[in-house]
């Protein structure tokens, strides 16, 4: 068994080395272009956009579909932010553009929940009825979102971005936990 054991050890070590070897180097793009909310943000190529204009709420299905699509796009922006948050060398141009987008979503979404666009509409939605029955609570959650998104959009450096991103995500979560239906 001795030889077999040694062979096995060698193979295992080779596996380990192979696993260590090709750790993909992230493309080093420091690009510390300071991006502020005031400066006109250059939309990153093929990056996610800001909110789309909502159709009139007279067409419930179209309105709620547009709202859902807007939250999907908001999610895509948050994904860009999270990927850069995790990166040791965040692309601050992309993150800055996404942060400005997130702020635009946060500012706009207060108008996305008129009466009748919840579960009582009969249309599948993750919006819970307590958005309307506890409007003050919902508005407070929205105010927190606007506040944290505003702070994130105002950040200009990687350190500030990394410090503010979790608080922004927690503002999303704060509202989701109370007012968004978990998938059954």
């Amino acid at each position: 068994m001795g030889v077999k054991t040694i062979l096995l050890a060698a193979a295992a070590s080779a596996c380990l080395l192979a696993a260590c070897g090709p750790e993909p180097e992230k493309p080093a793009e420091p690009a510390p272009a300071p991006e502020t909310a005031a400066a006109a943000p250059e939309p990153a190529a093929a990056g996610p956009t800001g909110p789309a204009a909502m159709p009139p709420a007279t067409d419930l299905a179209a309105f709620m579909k547009a709202r859902h699509d807007n939250y999907e796009m908001l999610g895509a922006n948050m994904k860009v932010l999270q990927d850069n948050f995790r990166s040791e060398t965040p692309d601050m141009a992309a993150a800055g553009a996404a942060a400005v987008n997130v702020k635009a979503f946060a500012d706009a979404m207060g108008d996305w929940f008129p009466a009748g666009t919840g579960p009582d509409s009969g249309i599948e939605s993750e919006a819970k009825a307590n958005i309307w029955s506890d409007r003050a609570g919902f508005d407070a959650a929205h105010a927190r979102m606007k506040d944290e998104a505003g702070k994130l959009a105002a950040v200009s450096d990687a350190a500030g971005f990394k410090a503010q991103f979790p608080a922004t995500g927690l503002a999303c979560k704060n509202c989701h936990d109370t007012f968004r239906e978990e998938k059954p």
Binding site: M1, T5, L8, A9, A12, S13, C15, L16, A19, C20, E23, P48, G75, A76, M78, K79, L81, Q82, D83, R86, S87, P166, G169, L170, C172, K173, H176, D177, R180, K183
Partner: protein, 234 residues
């Protein structure tokens, strides 16, 4: 049969001659760690304890990596090549199950092997999708979620949530089989998975049971698993 009944069946104590070792300690420890960590992963996800969920999931990946390695480097009853059999062997085992003179297999039966493979694959898919998953608020996410784009991450997250029901189903089947052996076949499979031993008169295989393997293999396997988790987390 009663004449051969062992007098000492103390768990952890020195085995009486009539006890046969069937499961080695690393295999048993891996098994029960999987049980505990799957339960912990479920509980932490249900209760929004995502920091716990992150680490219990990563630990599951490490345990799986070790179990796969152990399936090649471990002792006889842990080895895939030893217990994975073709459909004919499975059918033959099922037919023989209700015949007189049926004896418990040394290690996994051909049918039990299917359960082992299905469970390992399912846990692998469950933990593997978790590596790329992300929550709706982008507060918590798997360590590799940055490698996939938004749509892919969303699809994988949905699979991660839905597929858990498949894993639960397989676990149910596994428990059902154990209950079947306990009640119908009067064979306790749980005890040996805890102590490593069972009564020699009941089983096939070498009388003294499992031959140990070099501790070096255990060190290598543990290192591989820990290294993988470290790579994933960093």
């Amino acid at each position: 049969m009663d004449a051969d009944r062992p007098t000492a069946e103390t768990p952890g104590g020195a085995p009486a001659p009539s006890l046969q070792k069937v499961w080695d300690a690393p295999t048993r420890l891996t098994h029960w760690s999987l049980v505990i960590l799957i339960a912990l992963s479920w509980w932490s996800a249900e209760n929004g304890q995502m920091a716990i969920h992150y680490w219990s999931g990563l630990t599951l990946v490490g345990l799986l990596a070790f179990r796969i390695y152990w399936g090649f480097a471990g002792p006889e009853t842990a080895r895939f090549a030893r217990f994975i059999r073709g459909p004919r062997a499975v059918a033959g085992y099922v037919r023989g199950l209700f015949r007189q003179g049926h004896r418990a297999v040394f290690g996994h039966s051909p049918l039990g092997a299917l359960s082992v493979i299905a469970l390992l694959l399912a846990i692998g898919l469950q933990a593997g999708t978790g590596l790329f998953a992300s929550d709706t608020s982008y507060v918590s996410s798997g360590p590799l979620s940055h490698l996939v784009d938004y749509d892919m991450s969303e699809a994988i997250t949905e699979l991660h949530e839905d597929f858990f029901n498949v894993l639960l189903g397989l676990i149910g089947l596994h428990l059902g089989a154990i209950l079947f052996y306990l009640t119908v076949k009067r064979a306790n499979l749980i005890g040996p998975m805890i102590t490593g031993y069972r009564r020699a008169v009941d089983v096939e295989g070498p009388p003294h049971g499992l031959a140990p393997v070099s501790w070096l293999r255990l060190v290598i396997g543990t290192g591989l698993a820990a290294g993988l988790v470290w790579l994933l987390a960093s």
